[in-house]
């Protein structure tokens, strides 16, 4: 079975959990015999034909432009990194295709054409919803427009049995591919605009999410929490929704043993510094814990639109050199900071899943996670607290600082538990969903 898969992140092009999830999922699907042609927002117009599990790491590339492809095949690269640079994907999020790369004259989708192609009123409404909301001058919207146009070309030229699109950025691409290729579409919800925005968010994105999910044949939600959200907020038909929890596999070359940076206990926040992730709650905890335990160190790892505000606020609280910022970390640096940490906290306001705590637990770090998260559904050996209950977070952190033996035991139990949550199981569910969806589609046609 061959899947045309659209996603916005993949290692080394990562800025969050989506890339990590796609990597684990794709690798496991490949080992189960699924073939995947992966499309990413790369600078060059390429796709990644993946056939073997190792392809998830080596990333074989096909340039859509034949001339460019023959130039590429004649080139030799000394490292993977050098080759990725050539395609235009590196570990920095800024290496996504840039606006300068987008031809101005080609950004508009042929909206009228697509509306005239619709077969019934229902379909027409969905296309109307998608196309009218994919309009705007913001960088991200324009990047999605460009990505969608590329998808249109790929959908016409490639062979595939089924389409799998991750998150709203790729839904317009998935919709086009379904229409053009007359193949079933599965959309995968890693996060909704409600989660990301921590409030109402961007109306256009809600509309695109709604259109994508409604137009899809099946919808995968990463947790019960998310499934509830898409039923109640987007009114998606319950029969279409399947829950597939994410997993986490420790990279083969990772070293998980402790390597301290600080003598005192280290409490880690790891993720995008945005409202969704609750970084302001982390700062409040730090202030209160440090008043009792000045030997502790709080590390805020990651970047995001709240970084500056948090930095300034931590200074105004006079947290001295006890509240530290790492800035953007690549994979190796993430592993390094995990090895140096004792307590991991995820105070997300709304977290559809949350792979990062699984990763922390795989490193034997005692974890405290928000009850408002999908990951809380799959693990037992972690503390689960309402994101707003700062009193309890502070009490728990203090307790873990004061009882190192208990902390270590909890960490080890968590590590064992996470090691059992493998992608193979999740991929198995997805593979069965692929074949089921395909069978149903053929039967209908």
């Amino acid at each position: 079975m061959k899947i045309l898969m659209f996603t916005w992140e993949f290692p080394p092009l990562i800025s969050g959990g989506l890339g990590m999830a796609c990597y684990g999922m794709i690798k496991a699907l490949l080992s189960q015999g699924i073939k995947i042609d992966l499309v990413l927002p790369t600078k060059e117009f390429v796709y990644f034909p993946m056939r073997e599990p190792s392809d998830a790491d080596t990333l074989p590339v096909v340039f859509v432009d034949q001339e460019k492809h023959s130039v590429y095949t004649k080139k030799t690269f000394s490292t993977l990194h050098e080759r990725m640079d050539y395609i235009g994907i590196t570990e920095q999020p800024e290496s996504y295709f840039q606006l300068a790369d987008i031809r101005r004259d080609s950004v508009a989708l042929k909206r009228e054409y697509w509306l005239s192609e619709t077969v019934n009123l229902e379909e027409r409404e969905l296309w109307q919803e998608m196309t009218t909301n994919l309009i705007g001058d913001e960088d991200l919207i324009r990047k999605v427009q460009e990505y969608t146009l590329r998808a249109e070309r790929l959908a016409r030229t490639m062979d595939y049995d089924l389409i799998h699109a991750h998150d709203w950025l790729c839904y317009p691409a998935g919709m086009l591919a379904r229409k053009i290729g007359q193949k079933p579409l599965i959309v995968h919800i890693h996060a909704t605009e409600f989660d990301r925005a921590g409030g109402p968010g961007d109306e256009r994105i809600h509309k695109i999410e709604h259109a994508g999910m409604t137009y899809a044949d099946k919808v995968i939600a990463v947790s019960q929490y998310t499934a509830q959200m898409i039923m109640s907020r987007y009114r998606i038909d319950t029969a279409k929704i399947r829950i597939v929890h994410n997993a986490f596999s420790v990279p083969e070359d990772a070293v998980v043993s402790k390597e301290r940076i600080f003598t005192g206990p280290v409490i880690l926040f790891l993720g995008r510094i945005t409202l969704q992730k609750g970084p302001d709650y982390f700062l409040e905890m730090a202030e209160r814990v440090l008043a009792v335990h000045p030997e502790a160190r709080f590390i805020m790892a990651g970047t995001g639109d709240m970084s500056r505000k948090l930095l300034r606020r931590s200074a105004s609280l006079k947290l001295r050199n006890r509240f530290l910022f790492t800035g953007f970390l690549n994979r190796k640096q993430v592993e390094r900071v995990l090895r140096a940490s004792d307590i991991y906290v995820l105070p997300s306001v709304s977290e559809p899943f949350g792979i990062s705590p699984l990763e922390a637990m795989a490193f034997g770090i005692t974890s405290i996670i928000s009850k408002q998260s999908g990951v809380a559904e799959v693990i037992n050996h972690a503390f689960k607290i309402d994101f707003w209950d700062t009193d309890l977070w502070v009490e728990t952190i203090n307790h873990l600082i004061e009882n190192p033996q208990k902390r270590v035991k909890m960490g080890i139990d968590g590590m064992h538990e996470v090691n059992r949550i493998q992608w193979d199981e999740a991929a198995e569910k997805i593979r069965l969903l692929y074949s089921g969806t395909l069978a149903e589609y053929i039967r209908q046609a």
Binding site: R260, I261, F262, T263, R297, I299, A301, S307, R308, L311, R312, S314, A315, S316, K318, L319, R320, N321, R322, L324, F325, T326, G327, Q333, R336, V337
Partner: protein
């Protein structure tokens, strides 16, 4: 008689590298040696060496009538030795002429005065010893980092034997109707004080190459005429002092050679000395030249020569700056209690005021000047690296 008192500040900090959390406890160095070497060699080539050569020629040419003074920080002297020993030699040649005064300050160009009096006195004594060792010079004039001054400072400086004169900024809110052209006394009348005449000093230091300035281009003739006019109101035979204090890097670095700054300086002394009522003096000579009852001035709040506000806001305004400096001085106490010389040396290198200057986030005009001098992309970056360095320092204390 109006005496022009030139005083030049020579300073280079040890800049921190982009020191991340993961660098802590890794054993890697905090300071950016390659960058520091690069900057020192560049500034030596563009400023120190050509300017020293020019001033030496002028001093010789005018046979004792042209005089200047310098304050050279300990961190600058150390980096001369590391990266540009010929610069240090050329300063020594200048001092040997007898027409150059060396001024005392803190060895590390720090803000210790505001936080730790004992550390401040230690750094002043270290600097004094260094000047003696390098130049055979006994300092008798004092200037605090960035001309920061407050009444309490004169008490501390007075405690140290030998200091007779202090330099600071001629701040309007202190002087009010008074003229910065007279020598004053501090509030307790113990120490002679000279105040920078910022309008004319800044014409050279900041506006010289500014084409939007109505007076552009500044010619020697024009500038000396302005100075001459200053003497018109004085007819009682009192000696006045026009204090032109500035960063030495003005010459060739802030004002590029192409701006004509060196030509300006080459012809300036001769034009001044043509006029019978104008001359040059060193700060150490001014107390005796002051042939009148010197009025005393009180500075209840700190002043400085930085930015339009001429206060501490360039280094100590926002929360980042306050948290950073308080973190450092908390550590000083612990390090001194431990008696670890290596750690103390690192803490002192971190006490250099430039680190806090880089964290300045004032937006208007002055922000640009801060940006020009900063090796980092933003005040936030400067803060992050500094706090990480302090975290490293504290870990070393615990190890």
């Amino acid at each position: 008689m109006l005496n022009i008192v030139f005083y030049f500040q020579v300073h280079q900090p040890y800049r921190l590298k982009h020191y991340n959390v993961l660098d802590i406890a890794s054993g890697s160095d905090m300071f950016d040696d390659p960058l520091n070497g690069l900057v020192m060699r560049k500034v030596a080539e563009k400023c120190y060496l050509p300017t020293n050569k020019l001033l030496l020629e002028l001093i010789r040419q005018h046979e004792g009538r042209f005089k200047v003074s310098y304050s050279i920080t300990g961190t600058a002297i150390e980096q001369f030795k590391l990266y540009s020993p010929e610069t240090l030699d050329s300063f020594k040649a200048l001092v040997d002429t007898g027409c150059v005064e060396i001024i005392g300050e803190t060895y590390f160009h720090s803000l210790a005065f505001l936080y730790e009096s004992n550390e401040f006195l230690d750094q002043v004594m270290m600097h004094r010893k260094l000047m003696k060792d390098e130049f055979g010079y006994d300092t008798v004039t004092f200037r605090n980092t960035e001309l920061i001054f407050q009444d309490r400072l004169s008490d501390l400086v007075y405690e140290i034997e030998g200091f007779k004169t202090i330099l600071t900024e001629g701040v309007d809110r202190i002087l009010q109707w008074r003229s910065p052209l007279y020598a004053y006394k501090n509030y307790s009348k113990d120490i002679n004080m000279l105040l920078k005449y910022y309008q004319l000093a800044d014409d050279i230091a900041f506006r010289f190459s500014n084409r939007d300035w109505p007076e552009y281009p500044l010619t020697v003739d024009k500038f000396v005429n302005w100075i001459d006019h200053l003497t018109l109101s004085e007819n009682k035979g009192r000696n006045q002092f026009l204090n032109l204090f500035m960063d030495y890097e003005t010459f060739g670095e802030h004002q590029w050679a192409e701006s004509g700054i060196f030509e300006f300086m080459r012809h300036f002394p001769a034009e001044v000395l043509k006029r019978p009522n104008l001359g040059f003096a060193m700060p150490r000579e001014t107390a005796e030249l002051a042939n009148y009852q010197q009025e005393s001035l009180s500075f209840p709040e700190p002043v400085s020569w930085a930015d339009e506000q001429r206060d501490l806001s360039a280094w100590l305004e926002n929360d980042m700056q306050h948290n950073a400096i308080e973190t450092l001085y908390d550590l000083f106490e612990k390090i001194k209690a431990r008696g670890d010389e290596k750690l103390l040396r690192t803490a002192r290198l971190l006490s250099t005021s430039d680190h806090f200057y880089y964290m300045c986030a004032k937006y208007f005009q002055d922000g640009d000047v801060h940006k020009y001098f900063s090796p980092y992309d933003s005040p936030d970056q400067a803060y992050i690296y500094f706090i990480n360095a302090c975290a490293e320092l504290e870990e070393r204390l615990l190890r």
